[in-house]
Subunit: 701 residues, 2 copies
Amino acid sequence: MALEKFFNPDSVAIVGASQTEGKVGHEVLANMLAAGYRGKIFPVNNKAESIQGLKCYPDLESIGETPDLAIIILPAKIVPSVMRQCAKIGAKSVIIITAGFREVGQEGQQLEQEVIRIAKQSGIRVIGPNCLGIIVPANNLNASFGGDLPRKGSIGYLSQSGALLAAILDMANARGIGFSNLVSIGNKADVNELDLIKALGKDPGTRVIAGYLESITDGNAFVNQAEKISGKKPILLMKSGGTDAGAKAASSHTGSLAGSETAYEAVFERAGIIRCFSITSQFDFAQAFATQPLPAGARVAVITNAGGPGIMAADAIERQGLEFAKLTDETIEKLASKLPPAANLYNPVDVLGDALADRYEFALNVVVNDPNVDIALVILTPQAMTEAAETAKVVAKISRQNPSKTILASFLGANRIANAVEILQDNDVPQYNSPENAILTVRLMVDYVQWRTRPKRVVKLFPVNRRKVETIVEKHLRRGMHEIGETESKEIIEAYGFATPGGSIATTAEQAASIAQQIGYPVVMKIWSPDILHKSDVGGVELGLNNPKAVMDAFDLMMYRIPKKLPDANILGVLVQEMCKKGKEVILGMKRDPHFGPLMMFGMGGTMVEVLKDVSFYPAPLTAEEARQMLISTKTYKMLEGVRGEEGVDIDGIAEGLQRLSQLVTEFPQIQEMDINPYVVGPEGTTPIAVDARMRVDQVQ
Amino acid sequence: MALEKFFNPDSVAIVGASQTEGKVGHEVLANMLAAGYRGKIFPVNNKAESIQGLKCYPDLESIGETPDLAIIILPAKIVPSVMRQCAKIGAKSVIIITAGFREVGQEGQQLEQEVIRIAKQSGIRVIGPNCLGIIVPANNLNASFGGDLPRKGSIGYLSQSGALLAAILDMANARGIGFSNLVSIGNKADVNELDLIKALGKDPGTRVIAGYLESITDGNAFVNQAEKISGKKPILLMKSGGTDAGAKAASSHTGSLAGSETAYEAVFERAGIIRCFSITSQFDFAQAFATQPLPAGARVAVITNAGGPGIMAADAIERQGLEFAKLTDETIEKLASKLPPAANLYNPVDVLGDALADRYEFALNVVVNDPNVDIALVILTPQAMTEAAETAKVVAKISRQNPSKTILASFLGANRIANAVEILQDNDVPQYNSPENAILTVRLMVDYVQWRTRPKRVVKLFPVNRRKVETIVEKHLRRGMHEIGETESKEIIEAYGFATPGGSIATTAEQAASIAQQIGYPVVMKIWSPDILHKSDVGGVELGLNNPKAVMDAFDLMMYRIPKKLPDANILGVLVQEMCKKGKEVILGMKRDPHFGPLMMFGMGGTMVEVLKDVSFYPAPLTAEEARQMLISTKTYKMLEGVRGEEGVDIDGIAEGLQRLSQLVTEFPQIQEMDINPYVVGPEGTTPIAVDARMRVDQVQ
């Protein structure tokens, strides 16, 4: 991997190694020694001859060779000079554990910049500063003060919080959970989450990438990389914090609905990243991904020695929308041949409270060999005769023998099952302290498999008139105008293949009536002013006008009333438009997220978007399938399909609209946010009409 | 308490006590002895002189005195004869641990009936059969084979699954969680969940009632009792299973939407019962209720020694809809006076990674004395200098000193915080393995307080015409008719104060036009037949007819087309009705749950109920406030209030409709289910109209 020398160094210098117990410099060296590191260790400290039995060097140069990895634990002010020494001796991988940089204010920030400047000049990669260090169990490397070396395993963990990493390490050690790598990225002044998922993505010892992040440095690059990696190994992230300040300043519907949480959710979904909301659930999920095969389907069978927990598991399967495996007749017969008469042969299979390990073995073997079973959950309660440890061994054996079936355990209790739990963990059978947590984990595994087997992403490119859009956008930016009004917004989307309603601006009541006559009744009238964004709020919209008198009345009333409400508005006239007679109103939109780029929105129109906030988001560019999924993932999607005999609307028409919009905002990064609202869609085969549109543009930095 | 002698017996006979290790009869006696039971123990076994050092009796009679409690562990077939002995010597409290009764089929069921017959005759109360026994730590009573005696505490636990109870006991013992009582109710042939919540409700040693149930014997009595008890102590229940078979046979909208899950949710909500979905979360909740004061409000402050988990807690507070305590200026100043400059003084208060116990003590003291803080969550991560155990002591002390503030801890890790966790548990500070679980617990505590302080329930009684309803219902039942058609359903609801649209039945097109002329255009027309329930599905509804021609055309078309679709339907004519011009359509309904009685439903009408299933349920009889809450708890409630300038509807009018319906179904238990659909509601001050109604009646058993 790219950060090879960090994770597998042949020699490590510890600059600031200390003899004084309790000091970080002491603990890092002690941890290196305790872990049984097989390479050379060079303690560096100009006040000691030897530390913890190792020869000590006054500075890096006096070592006489270049260590693969240097760990710096000296006070922040000295770190730049140590970095210069590193540069001089040609060290290329440095972990700066020392705190007191960017996180403490301006002075620290300058120090950090200085450190990074030296690093860049000399081709040094830096992890930290302000971090706990790194741990690689397979290489007996514990270059950290985070705790004891954990078991070797296949979870690669990165954390932006050192303290949390220490807690996680402690918990993992107690539960016997193994890691390939643990990295505390601290201030991530150089090496960041992107470098690490790349490195862990390539690391053959890492089967699952897990992490805790508070910020993502380069959103787009991270998500693109994550999407590639997720195709091979799952990424499980806790992402905390995030401010919605951006959403407050929004000028469009889409903008006001798209907070930063929305963006994370959308891009994580696109990239297949599995979001976790607590360290305990992250553990629950990670251990299953790390140890068990991915499920071939969603059909779960439960084996239990007690009815109650069996029902609880069945309830959880239903709540999580998984399938309850229907055992074959052959399976039922086999089970019947050996289980006691009172046993329940159907899923959940109840082997009864007096089941010894051999009965579990028989039943589990039969069940996992049933072609209708993808996943088996083995539940055990500690009853008088229960052989918990023996049963754990049996489950472990069957799990090993059946590499195509996903097997999880939920042994309930504590002391009476402690040995059994250890056996399960040691043998790669994930164990859950409640059936519900096991089933939730299964749900996420099934979701991940579905994501992995999604169709290949092909983004369709429509023939469009880019030149036209360029002209309008550039004209606005040249003049320092950021809002593009309805007329020109519509010209832009017309250039990208959208149909807009016919109509013209009238400046007199008679002209309005004559336009209406031309386009045919009924018509819609809208006040026309660059200063009025929310026309209906000032009485500037009239619908369904049926005859010349109604049109003229509406014109005169608007001209009389609106200037009274908005005396400063520059009113240019009234737009007379054809009325979209039939169809449902929806909203298409886009908000450019500062970290992740254009985020497409689809929403149900009318009051639904107000009341239910029934919208969905997905990052552009969209494939046809993704556009359809955006529709399907709204709560009221069925209304588009048609309910109770009502005719449905042209779903593909909406999806195509989203794709065209996605192409527009991908090709024009100047567009910051936009709405097409309403987008009126009729039955299949009709052309949807973009009745209104607005957008905001800005210079691209 | 009513089951006094079960929980605090002066003497216990163990019928079936055994010398053979591994046998249940051995284990129960061993557990009694190990627990240090202070009363007399009489082992009964006709094959031994003494067992485990105690004199053994050949039968109950030879004891020579009447034991307060008899525990039976002999094979099922012998149990009736032992029961007869109990009756003879006057024993009044019996635990039957033996299995092999109702749960194994018909023969067992007969045995169980025999046992209960003897018990009833002789005034004996029975716990079990097929149970684990009972445990009362305060009385050193472990009359069970469930495991070791747990710590004395204030959680009373009842479980319908013995195996689950054993697992819970094991977990609780490992976590140091204490109990007042643990009861395995087994087949609950006599003593059931109702008896137990009554007993635990009165037990001064029980502060929290928790349990696992698969069925509730007398739903109504249980809920009423639970509601009373919840006013004094919280009830936390896991309820598993439940079949929706009942819902499949439903003939109304309400019926098809009301599954048994819905009923449990509604009645639990009404009774203040806190529903838990796993044993781990039940523990999380129970320990806080058992040890901490109820929060005075919803304002949470967080104290942490690491930024990451602090942000995670803040995220959780936001997600759970709790308030983030805004610390007073005085608090901030005090914190600033002693905390290091890099510390965060605002909520979450970050005392930094090098915080020793004294810094936690200072900060926590300041924070809990802030009048803006109701709840404090103390987070600790095990860092190099962290004094976990000392900090736990400090938190425990401050918790004791501040009985009006709710204090929870989330110390993260395992081995490095194990001592600290023990100190927290021993000192009644609930500890959570993730900030998220702590915050979820706070949410439930706040909800419970809100439930406890809800306004007093006053059910309004409206003046109605009961006689009229009686006549119609009795007529139907006498004739074996179970569906009451639109006309008579409307007569019934009119008798309860509902307004229905004017209109009459026409049998010719001309008559239809003349009726329309009388009531005024526009009108609605509906096919009139006792055989057609879903009129619109067969083209039997026409809306908005504006003139005589339209009315006559509609009449003739219905008469021509519908008999073709439904040749067997007896068509009586067409109903011509006034059209409710304005207002929103909603649904009012009721489904009588077999366990809990009438369940009221409110739903948004039109396509909303189809697509979103936007309905709410609550058990009758309803108070005005409960009726309003049913409205508010729908997803699209805002649409009733009016959105985007649209006028709202008469909320109180709907609430009154629900109350009137609630009165009707409470006074007429014959009504099994009913819909008023649509119920058209206009702006405030207008009278809502019940446009259509149907109901199903049955003999009351």
